[in-house]
């Protein structure tokens, strides 16, 4: 079974992001880049499906500039068999729909039975690409999955998606697309052997033209970034615990009107 995993490179969660000079993108100086954490759940799940079935291929795909190679290599080190790098200035201002169109074109070429994505990339937090891919491909889709099982003959996948108050379990005929939620699995660390072997694996560079796509303006454009307004200064309530608690409740009730 061929499984394709779409991953994105994002700044590490500990990064203090700052607005860049153009006011529309972040200042990338000194940033540590990582594979978006939810995408790691997707990679791990794809590898587990392959291992459980004893055969198959896991292909990692990512869209972005040259630096993205590093994220791709860490997926190869984890165990993905090969990778495709969608790297073209035409995608510099890609919104979720542009990204989904590029990925959909690759998926049509590769024809995997299953596509896994993370629930959202932790940079723009849009969480839309999985659903938009499903739409462009005309595939069934399950969001925020907490568990999945591909049936023995590789014809369908049973997935449990997280909803308010419970899990909803569905059977999806393959090909299908799933978005991984935290808790689906515990991603492995790449082993040293995996890291050393990664450079022998293929990373195919793909341009928009290779997919028959041109440069289109994004449907959603960022017109500016801004820092959050600073919070008003707070106060530490002094006194012994009973007195401090009384004062806190009074303040929440009378000053903040929050209770």
């Amino acid at each position: 079974m061929k499984i394709l995993v779409a991953i994105k490179q994002v700044p590490d969660t500990a990064t203090q992001v700052k607005v860049g000079a153009d006011g529309k993108a972040i200042d990338t100086a000194g940033i540590t880049w990582i594979v978006s954490p939810y995408d790691e759940y997707a990679v791990e799940e794809a590898l587990r499906i392959k291992e459980k079935r004893g055969q198959g291929e896991v292909v990692a795909v990512s869209l972005g500039p040259d630096r993205v190679k590093e994220a791709i290599r860490s997926c190869l080190a984890m165990g993905c068999d090969r990778a495709i790098h969608l790297n073209d200035p035409a995608w510099n201002d890609a919104d979720t729909l542009t990204t989904a169109k590029a990925l959909a074109a690759v998926i049509k070429q590769e024809a995997p039975q299953l596509v896994l994505c993370g629930r959202q990339a932790i940079d723009d937090d849009m969480g839309a690409v999985t659903a938009q891919l499903a739409e462009l491909l005309g595939w069934p889709c399950a969001y925020w999955i907490m568990e999945e099982t591909v049936d023995a003959d590789g014809k369908s996948v049973r997935a449990a998606r997280q909803a308010e108050g419970g899990l909803e379990v569905f059977d999806l005929p393959l090909p299908a697309i799933l978005a991984a939620q935290k808790g689906l699995n515990e991603p492995r660390y790449p082993t040293l052997k995996g890291i050393m072997g990664a450079k022998k694996k293929e990373i195919k560079d793909v341009k928009a033209g290779d997919l028959g796509l041109g440069a289109e303006p994004p449907q959603l454009a960022v017109i500016g970034l801004e820092a959050l307004p600073p919070r008003p200064p707070g106060r530490v309530i002094q006194g012994d615990v009973p007195a401090a608690v009384k004062e806190l409740v009074r303040a929440l009730r009378e000053d903040a009107k929050a209770i």
Partner: protein
């Protein structure tokens, strides 16, 4: 001169850092307090390939280089000095000589399981009267037909209690002094081989330090590493490589303490400002940062020379000397930055301080490193003037 890590080295560093942060740091306090060998994490390090980094895949290892080893040990040591020494002993003091001097049959049997992380190896050279003066071996290995009979005691053996394989040095020919020393691989459970005690230590408390006893312990001749009389050469060559590992451990301990000091200096306030705004604290942090970087560069240079197949003994001695001294100074100053809290176990910097002390002692004390360096310096000068 190339100062950038390769992609692979960077990824290994990132993996080691992530593993150290998530799997080792949370247990570091507890295993230190209880002096408990961290079996579970060491096993995981083995599965990740961290216990046989420089051994080719053919022999169960990861097929990476010494530079990768150095950056990985540093990351592990940042979280826990004990894990770092367990790793360093296995990689440098056991796998390295087995790879260099072992026959294919010996590598298959004694190296593959250890490099693959399924078992641990240790290095048994030191004796009560043979520390810095390692030539003075009292352990005897007497040839008897197809085997040798070992008698003697080995002291301060890192991982000695936990290891499944010990590389043991003993005298096969007393008359030849250190040219009569030979090396043997002895398996745990061999009749006559036992662990007589485990030391209660100041630092690296989760790594066991054991006394090994050999009483009429019969070792097959096939388990002798190298030729008879080659033992001392094997030991010295091995320790040169080991010093790179210990230098990396020292850099990691210094860097771990330093990172905590920086974080504390940003948060802790005195006289209305974070203490990092005070010049006295800034000076300490600046000195630490500079020395740590220097120690790291010396260590990487020694590793690079080793990877290039060039002589690296003096470079390793310099790296180990400077890194150990830096570790001691940086961990002392990290406590100073923390003030009274630094002296309290909860704040952890005191553990780095306790762990750092051993780096000035084992695998050649700082004084021995100076001896090695001075010998080279004087030898070279003499050569030029002659």
């Amino acid at each position: 001169m190339e100062l950038d890590l390769t992609d692979e080295q960077r990824m290994i560093q990132a993996m080691a850092r992530e593993f150290a942060e998530t799997a080792i740091r949370p247990i570091a306090v507890e295993i230190d307090r209880e002096a408990r060998f961290p079996h579970e994490t060491v096993k995981r390090m083995g599965a990740l390939g961290l216990m046989g980094i420089m051994v080719p895949e053919r022999w169960g290892g990861s097929g990476a280089d010494t530079v990768a080893y150095v950056v990985a040990v540093e990351e592990i040591a940042k979280a826990c000095g004990s894990h770092a020494v367990i790793m360093s002993v296995n990689n440098s003091l056991y796998c390295d000589p087995l790879l260099t001097y072992g026959t294919d049959a010996q590598r298959e049997r004694f190296l593959v399981p250890v490099a693959a992380g399924q078992a641990n190896g240790c290095f048994a050279l030191t004796e009560s009267q043979a520390g810095s003066d390692a030539r003075n071996q009292a352990t005897l290995a007497t040839r008897d037909g197809d085997s040798y009979v070992l008698n003697g005691k080995k002291q301060f053996i890192s991982t000695g209690r936990e290891a499944s394989f010990a590389l043991v040095f003993g005298q096969t020919d007393r008359a030849k002094a250190h040219h009569g020393i030979s090396a043997f691989v002895v398996e745990k459970g061999a009749p006559g081989f036992g662990v007589s005690k485990t030391e209660d230590k100041l630092g690296i408390r989760a790594s066991d330090t054991a006394e090994l006893v050999f009483e009429d312990c019969r070792v097959p001749a096939a388990s002798r590493l190298g030729e008879e009389g080659m033992g001392f050469t094997i030991a010295m060559g091995t320790i040169d490589g080991g010093r790179i590992g210990i230098a990396a451990q020292a850099v990691g301990l210094a860097a771990g303490a330093y990172e905590r000091a920086v974080a504390y200096a940003r948060e802790r306030k005195s006289f209305g400002v974070p203490i990092g705004q005070h010049q006295m604290v800034q000076w300490m942090l600046a000195d630490m940062a500079t020395a740590i970087d220097g120690a790291r560069l010396l260590t990487l240079r020694a590793a690079t020379l080793k990877d290039a197949g060039k002589p690296f003994g003096v470079a390793a001695a310099m790296a180990k000397l400077f890194a150990a001294e830096t570790a001691m100074k940086a961990t002392t100053d990290a406590i100073q930055v923390h003030g009274g809290y630094g002296y309290i176990r909860e704040y952890e910097v005191e553990r780095y301080f306790r762990d750092a002390k051993i780096t000035q002692i084992y695998e050649g004390t700082s004084q021995i490193q100076k001896l090695v360096i001075a010998r080279e310096v004087l030898g070279r000068t003499a050569g030029r003037s002659a």
